[in-house]
């Protein structure tokens, strides 16, 4: 029966050929070079202009964000209307790179897909992604476009609402959204006695807060003002947290594919927007002023 084992061997070889026939994906716009260095698209003194940039679609800028798109970062769950902080920032960056408003294409990208390996479906993704070193190993992140402060919200009549220090929160049942620095604040700064509740979406965190299943939740400041102002009006902002001394300031960054040719241009655009005051103006327009919240130490 030699012919049978020969057939098996032949089949294996065929399988190998078929598998190697799965052509590797062409990753458009990715160049082998370390991120952040000047690449072919952005030579020193070269141009970060719409026609020189190797975007997903020629002459278009594809921007990703999660759905639903939450206020105050977006308005009416429609990222393309230019309303809301992140929508406005995305259009400002696009403008800096020389794209007209009509050349910006929005793409639905779930939070978890924004950092999945493999070809990306966007040029950059804007989704309140905090910058940290671990994440930089998986994706490129632009310069920070927003300085984040974390705050605590609780129902007005609860014990947690009377907290004036971190120590007052030790015994509380706290909650935060998965993948956020809010969760790190609970684990690293407050270090409560009970394990915190971790929610997939802020909607679930809000429901648990209303039901009294958690005493308080930690969210970033604009979200806190939006929740207490519009969604859970029986809750209030208790206070905000300081970045621990020596820790890097927390910032949101735009997500790009690892080693994307656009990273340096997008970062330059964000930096320019910060310098000329555009970011501050957009923040004033869309995000509540944070002066009112006392600091919990």
């Amino acid at each position: 029966m030699r012919s049978r084992s020969a057939a098996i061997a032949a089949a294996s070889v065929l399988a190998a050929l078929a598998a190697s026939g799965c052509a590797p994906q062409q990753t458009a716009g990715s160049t082998s070079g370390t991120s952040g260095t000047a690449s072919s698209a952005a030579r020193p003194g070269g141009s970060c202009t719409a026609d020189a940039l190797a975007t997903k679609a020629k002459g278009k800028l594809t921007v990703g964000t999660d759905t639903p798109a939450y206020a105050p970062w977006f308005q009416d769950d429609d990222p393309a209307n230019g309303k809301g902080y992140e929508s406005a920032v995305a259009y400002a960056v696009a403008q800096k790179l020389g794209f007209a408003k009509g050349d910006v294409v929005w793409q639905k990208v779930a939070f978890n897909n924004a950092f999945a390996p493999g070809a990306k479906t966007f040029d950059f993704d804007v989704n309140q992604v905090s910058i940290n070193e671990d994440r930089r190993k998986a994706v490129d992140l632009s310069s920070g476009y927003y300085d984040v402060r974390q705050t605590l919200i609780a129902l007005k009549d609860s014990k947690a609402a009377k907290a004036t220090s971190l120590a007052d929160l030790k015994g509380a049942k706290l909650g935060a959204q998965v993948g956020t620095t809010s969760l790190d604040v609970i684990n690293d700064l407050i270090k409560p006695d009970q394990q915190p509740s971790v929610f997939q979406k802020n909607d679930l965190a809000k429901a648990a807060l209303k039901n009294g299943q958690v005493d308080a939740i930690v969210v970033d400041l604009p979200t806190a003002f939006y929740i207490t102002g519009a969604e859970v009006t029986e809750a209030e902002v208790v206070g905000q947290f300081e970045t621990p001394a020596g820790a890097a300031k927390e910032q949101f960054g735009l997500v790009l594919d690892k080693d994307s040719a656009l990273t340096s241009c997008v970062s330059q655009a964000v930096d320019a927007l910060r310098e000329d005051g555009t970011l501050a103006a957009i923040e004033k327009q869309w995000l509540s002023d944070a002066a009112g919240a006392p600091v919990l130490k």
């Binding site: 049978r4 084992s5 098996i8 061997a9 294996s12 070889v13 399988a15 190998a16 598998a19 190697s20 799965c22 590797p24 994906q25 939070f111 978890n112 950092f115 390996p117 493999g118 940290n132 671990d134 994440r135 190993k137 998986a138 994706v139 909650g175 998965v178 993948g179 969760l183 790190d184 394990q195 915190p196 509740s197 971790v198 929610f199 997939q200 679930l204 965190a205 429901a207 648990a208 209303k210 039901n211 009294g212 299943q213 958690v214 690892k258």
Partner: protein, 281 residues
Amino acid sequence: MYRPSQRRIERERYKRSRTRRATAVATLSTVLTLAVLFLVVTGSPGWPRTKETFFDAEYARQALPLVLDGLWLNLRLLLVCGAVTLVLGLLLAVTRTLRGPAFFPLRALATAYVDFFRGLPLIICLLAVIFGVPALRLQGVPTDPVVLGGTALVLTYSAYMAEVFRAGIESVHPSQRAAARSLGLSTAQTMRFVVLPQAVRRVVPPLLNDLVSLQKDTGLVSIAGAVDAVYAAQILSSKTFNYTPYVVAGLVFVVLTIPMTRFTDWVTARMNRRQSQGGTV
């Protein structure tokens, strides 16, 4: 004094040689297949990136203690919910198979319950129980998400188990019932001493199947914020943008399921031995 004939010895030798040859061919083809798979995977252009993202030793080291912490929640839920669903499922099945017109409302209720909770997607059941029940603001009703989540699991899985038990009860031949009744056993006694022992024995494998399924679904309780093994992995993954914690959690679950599967096989084998007392024909 029996001595195998020359022909028999010859035949056995030939059989042994065939077996050896088959083993050798199987080994060779397995090695070849694995080698080809290995080369295809590690030779793919994205492999270095994939390796970093899914198989990073450092992140695995960070993830393991967190995942094992979470696993404790899975195991507690499995033990409690598993026991409750078995009892409740059996009760439902017995209720559905009650005879006599007086029991009609009970039968109808049990049938309605099973139909509803078997059809209701588990995730919706969990959401409704975990976030809906506390919203009622009733005194004395628990708001602990783990208790509520466990309740939702019991609701769904007892309906599954009820169907399995019912299939077992109905598979017992009517002659068994008739024989028991003719010996003077009451309906209840017939059920208790004749029908149920045979019925349960027949459906042990599908029951254990449901238990393994329940073991994996215990993780869905994390929708309420409780941290189980898979969720612990997700928390670390979304912090670091690295998928290794998921791989660790997946392997932990597989390792947990293997003893369960072996146990199922052993139970089945033992049952078969018992049913064919006196040896197979």
